[in-house]
């Protein structure tokens, strides 16, 4: 019953998103939707750790960047094909997540934030230092890749759009599967009551590490895809604006919800793009809007939608009664 509902939702999403290129002819809009899908994937995988697992960490941007840099380096220096390259990006992120996660998940709370923050800077330093490999400040430029002997660019807009859409759907199924699996149940029970979960034989460290690693894979894949799409990789991959976009997608959409981060990513990406006319002032206005959204929509849009739904479906819940007295 429940999985039927999910299947329908997925079908609806696929249907809507796959007919858009037929209806909308402007490449620019397709480009924005594609970015939104990619950012949504990174955000919703991060949400697996933050929202479902209660582990607030800042390693998602390093995962994204690891995916991007690994695929770019292998492609530029060794001519690796992008299709394998994208997978390599995911693997690189998984390896990094093990390197970070094995020590880092032994600490919690604010210390986990600091630890992952330090990793971010170490990675950035390494990228800037090994100029021969990474291109340093200037980054690396990727050659366009032709399909077979034809003259068709492998990363032409239509192909990229549908690749992003496939990743998007893959990510949704991936996350849903994890949430409904034993791991997901253990994770949520750990978040809600660690004492209880441990008493039921759950090993917190193991479950957290598994989730941390799983949530890194698609971030790396997206990083790789993003780099191939832009055909350039630079240290800008470590920018705060990525961190803020991903994190705010989760918060604005709804922490610990399946669709919230995706919705948040769409809203933020479109917002960011619609502010392009502001040029130099864009980041300033974006920052201000972000703060205003946080202040005036604290619980996330999904929560808002859920609440509206519950008010319509049952007007006499206990919360309603108390609210009236207030």
């Amino acid at each position: 019953m429940k999985s039927n509902k999910f299947l329908l939702e997925i079908l609806a999403i696929v249907l809507v998103l796959s007919v858009i290129p037929a209806l909308v002819r402007q490449q620019y809009i397709l480009h924005v939707i594609m970015l939104a899908m990619i950012f949504g994937i990174v955000a919703s995988n991060w949400n697996l750790a933050i929202g479902y697992g209660g582990m607030f960490h800042l390693a998602q941007v390093p995962f994204f960047a690891a995916g991007g840099y690994s695929t770019a380096i292998l492609s530029v220096h060794m001519g690796l094909s992008p299709l394998i390259g994208i997978l390599v990006g995911g693997v690189a992120a998984v390896i990094l997540s093990l390197i970070i996660g094995i020590p880092a998940l032994r600490v919690r709370g604010i210390y986990l934030v600091f630890l992952t923050f330090a990793f971010h800077f170490i990675m950035l330093s390494l990228v800037l230092y090994f100029v021969d490999i990474t291109g340093g400040d200037m980054g690396l430029i990727l050659e366009p890749i032709r399909i077979g002997a034809t003259n068709i660019d492998m990363f032409n807009p239509v192909v990229t759009y549908y690749t992003a859409l496939s990743l998007f759907v893959l990510s949704l199924v991936f996350i849903k599967t994890i949430i409904d699996s034993k791991i997901g149940l253990a994770l949520v029970s750990l978040r809600d009551s660690e004492v209880y979960a441990v008493s039921r034989g759950i090993n917190p460290y193991k479950i957290k590490l598994v989730t941390f690693v799983l949530s890194s894979f698609l971030a790396g894949v997206c990083g790789a895809f993003y780099v191939h799409y832009l055909r350039v990789v630079t240290p800008a991959l470590f920018d705060w604006s990525f961190l803020i976009t991903f994190l705010a997608s989760i918060v604005i959409g709804g922490v610990g919800t399946l669709y919230g981060p995706l919705l948040g990513a769409f809203i933020l990406t479109f917002l960011m793009e619609s502010l392009r006319f502001l040029e130099m002032f864009r980041n300033i206005v974006f920052g201000l809007l972000m703060i205003l959204i946080l202040i005036f929509m604290p619980k996330g849009l999904i929560m808002l939608a859920n609440r509206a739904q519950s008010i319509f479906s049952s007007r006499q819940n206990s919360a309603g009664i108390v609210d009236e007295e207030n």
């Binding site: 206990s318 919360a319 108390v322 007295e325 207030n326």
Partner: protein, 254 residues
């Protein structure tokens, strides 16, 4: 029947006229849980009112509501005829309504002297901090040698003394003591009771939340019994302690 009704009304009128603090039918919620379900309490000048009842039935919540630490929903709280239930805690402190909470809430890494000085934080009291400090030290001489000691390192009894002393530093007019004897050895508790008696003699009104019937018998003028978030019994000390239900449930007399 009619006569008693008139008498009751007159009684409340008289009480009301003399009451410095008047809590009328207040309700307090923690989320969905109603901790205080329409409590009315009053206290007159120079009076010591004891509040008794089982744990978790709303006594501390009542005190917190008077201090402004929790907001009330419905009902009102008046102090000398002025509504105070919408005021912030600091403004209530400024009026001389001081709480000594359960557990003291001392500043653990400050010295005894600093803790006492902060008791005089509100402007009016700050001017009188030297005199008040003297009063506190006369009341609790054990603190004299401990002024430079960090509160974290004090014994339970000393901490309680600092907490009450900090309350007195603010030139309190109404002191609300929440379970001051909890966890003290009988000897220390005795000292504390002596101190409270002295405080009362200086003319400060006191609301004393207490479990120990012996102390209540020794100190109280009037008693309120609070059960399940409601006042189930109120009256003069002897009236309440003589009540059948109280005898059975709280005094262990069958």
């Amino acid at each position: 029947m009619k006569l008693t009704l008139v008498k009751n009304i007159l009684d409340t009128r008289i009480n009301r006229g003399a009451a410095m603090l008047e809590v009328s039918d207040i309700h307090v919620y923690y989320g969905l849980f109603e901790a205080v379900k329409g409590i009315s309490v009053n206290i007159r000048e120079k009076e010591l009112v004891a509040i008794m009842g089982p744990n978790g039935h709303g006594k501390s919540t009542l005190i917190r509501a008077i201090s402004g630490l929790v907001k009330i929903r419905g009902g009102k709280i008046e102090y000398n005829g002025k509504k105070i239930d919408k005021l912030k805690p600091p403004d209530i402190v400024k009026m001389g309504i001081i709480q000594v909470p359960e557990g003291g809430h001392l500043f653990p890494e400050m010295t005894v002297e600093e803790n006492l000085l902060l008791g005089a934080y509100v402007p009016g009291a700050w001017k009188k901090r030297k005199e008040n400090m003297q009063i506190v030290l006369d009341l609790f001489p054990i603190l004299k040698d401990k002024m430079d000691q960090i509160c974290l390192t004090l014994s339970g009894g000393e901490r309680r003394a600092v907490a009450v002393g900090r309350g007195l530093m603010s030139s309190a007019k109404l002191l609300m003591l929440d379970e001051p004897s909890l966890g003290l050895s009988p000897l220390l508790a005795k000292e504390l009771i002596k101190g409270i008696k002295k405080i009362k003699d200086t003319g400060i009104s006191i609301i004393l939340v207490e479990e120990n019937i012996r102390y209540i018998r020794e100190l109280a003028d009037r008693i309120y019994l609070i059960e399940q978030g409601k006042v189930t019994l109120e009256g003069k000390k002897d009236q309440v302690l003589g009540n059948k239900h109280v005898k059975k449930a709280y005094l262990g007399i069958i």
